[in-house]
């Protein structure tokens, strides 16, 4: 049996290492950080962690419907492809910073990419 992507990346420890870096990048990015104004840091961090767990192919409860619902308000406030691209950029940037091999980064990116239409409500 081959090891799952999640395990290859280092499982939960890897998610924990990534979440701070990823979230800090996102909050520092003026293109997208307005979407994070007025949200509670802890709650948001928990969501970032859930997102990364999902993107790493780890255990998650991801359903397209939930993703749609969670982002519907943001879509109304102008969330579009350019913002999604920015998040993708930070996701790969985070993994590069953590010295993750390129072939695994590609797999993570592909999983995250597969949520694009749900996130953007299409």
């Amino acid at each position: 049996m081959t090891e799952s992507l999640y395990d290859q990346l280092g499982g939960e420890a890897a998610v924990n290492a990534a979440v701070d870096i990823f979230y800090r990048r996102v909050l520092n990015d003026h293109r997208i950080n307005r979407f994070f104004d007025n949200v509670d840091m802890e709650q948001q961090a928990a969501k970032q962690k859930a997102f990364l767990t999902m993107a790493f192919g780890g255990p998650n409860d991801y359903t397209g419907a939930d993703m749609r619902q969670a982002h519907a308000k943001l879509v109304n406030n102008g969330l579009d492809d350019s913002h999604f691209d920015a998040v993708m950029e930070h996701l790969t940037g985070t993994l590069e910073e953590l010295n993750v091999p390129q072939n695994l980064i590609d797999q993570v990116a592909a999983i995250a990419e597969s949520t694009r239409d749900d996130v953007l409500g299409r």
Partner: protein
């Protein structure tokens, strides 16, 4: 032997089947528990055991402080025995106390010292609820370190129209009795990593828990730099400056900066808001531990700023209750 277990939450009791995660049992009974991943990753299903340790697997990934206080994740919890649980903290009163001393620290803040009938297991910086005879209750942070055992002190700020604080200032007498809850909250000093730098920012009587944390850290032999910024709008809100200055003289690694945001400060006091000055001085916080207490706006914006300055989320401590205690400003 594995058997069905009885779970008590608030007034309700339900059964958890063998091999069934507690989260599923709760949801099955229409008890509304927030949850997400169901795999122990998102920590949104955190609950607290009121009687004894939860199963070790159910505490996977939680901060030490949470573990010590018997928090656990419902989705990872397969109860081994009957449990009594709560969403967060239970409000039970565990002991009573006698008022030992009252002393004004500045025109609006009084130090209240009580002695509990039983010894409490607490950490400086945690808070307790104090309740008077008729049930009126308020939360106050413990400002002394743990070595005092049954002696607890608080900084009670007199709030305009504040029922409890007015009463405590004016009518509460030495020798009077109060009910005391179990110590609560996660904003406290934990030993280990004595070389870590600490940044503490407080406004008003938010100094109380910070002073407790500092004395506990120093008492514990903390070696990293400890920076305290205490702010108020004017000089009336500052207090304990002498104590903090003498602490600064005794400990080379302790640095104290009092700040006022309105008017011209006298010598030795910084001009501006405590958190703005703090982040100007300490702009690279990677590896630091950060403690925030006081005005809710200050706390939430500082949380973000500390994080962006490099502090890890797990190393930023702030207690929600201070929102309530400082909302009348």
């Amino acid at each position: 032997m594995m058997t069905v277990t009885k779970i008590k939450i608030d007034e309700q009791t339900l059964l958890c089947q063998v091999g069934e995660p507690l989260l599923d049992a709760l949801l099955r009974e229409n008890i509304d528990v927030s949850h997400g991943c169901r795999q122990g990753a998102c920590q949104s299903c955190m609950l607290r055991s009121l009687k004894g340790k939860p199963p070790a697997e159910a505490q996977h990934g939680l901060k030490d402080g949470l573990k010590q206080q018997n928090y656990f994740l419902a989705c990872l919890c397969y109860p081994e025995q009957d449990m009594e649980i709560a969403y967060t903290h239970h409000r039970d009163y565990v002991t009573h106390a006698t008022v030992k001393a009252k002393q004004m620290l500045n025109p609006e803040i009084m130090q209240l010292v009580i002695e509990t009938d039983e010894e409490l297991d607490y950490y400086a910086g945690q808070f307790v609820n104090l309740k008077r005879d008729d049930g009126l209750t308020r939360s106050y942070s413990i400002s002394n370190h743990r070595m005092h055992g049954r002696q607890l002190s608080f900084h009670v700020r007199r709030l305009m129209g504040g029922q409890f604080s007015e009463w405590a200032h004016q009518e509460l007498q030495i020798g009077d009795r109060l009910a005391v809850s179990e110590p609560q909250g996660l904003c406290y000093y934990q030993s280990g990593q004595p070389q870590q730098n600490l940044l503490l920012i407080g406004t008003g009587s938010g100094l109380a828990p910070l002073a407790g944390i500092i004395s506990e850290a120093l008492h514990d032999g903390h070696r990293g730099e400890i920076h305290l910024y205490h702010g108020s709008s004017d000089m009336n809100g500052l207090y304990w400056s002498e104590e903090m200055r003498s602490l600064q003289q005794r400990y080379q690694n302790f640095h104290y900066t009092p700040c006022i945001s309105r008017g011209e400060p006298p010598a030795g006091i910084a001009k501006g808001r405590a958190h703005e000055i703090a982040f100007k001085d300490c702009s690279a916080l990677k590896g630091w531990r950060v403690f925030l207490c006081g005005h809710p706006d200050m706390v939430s914006s500082s949380k973000r700023q500390a994080f962006l300055a490099g502090a890890s989320m797990a190393d930023i401590y702030a207690d929600a209750f201070h929102v309530a205690s400082s909302s009348v400003d």
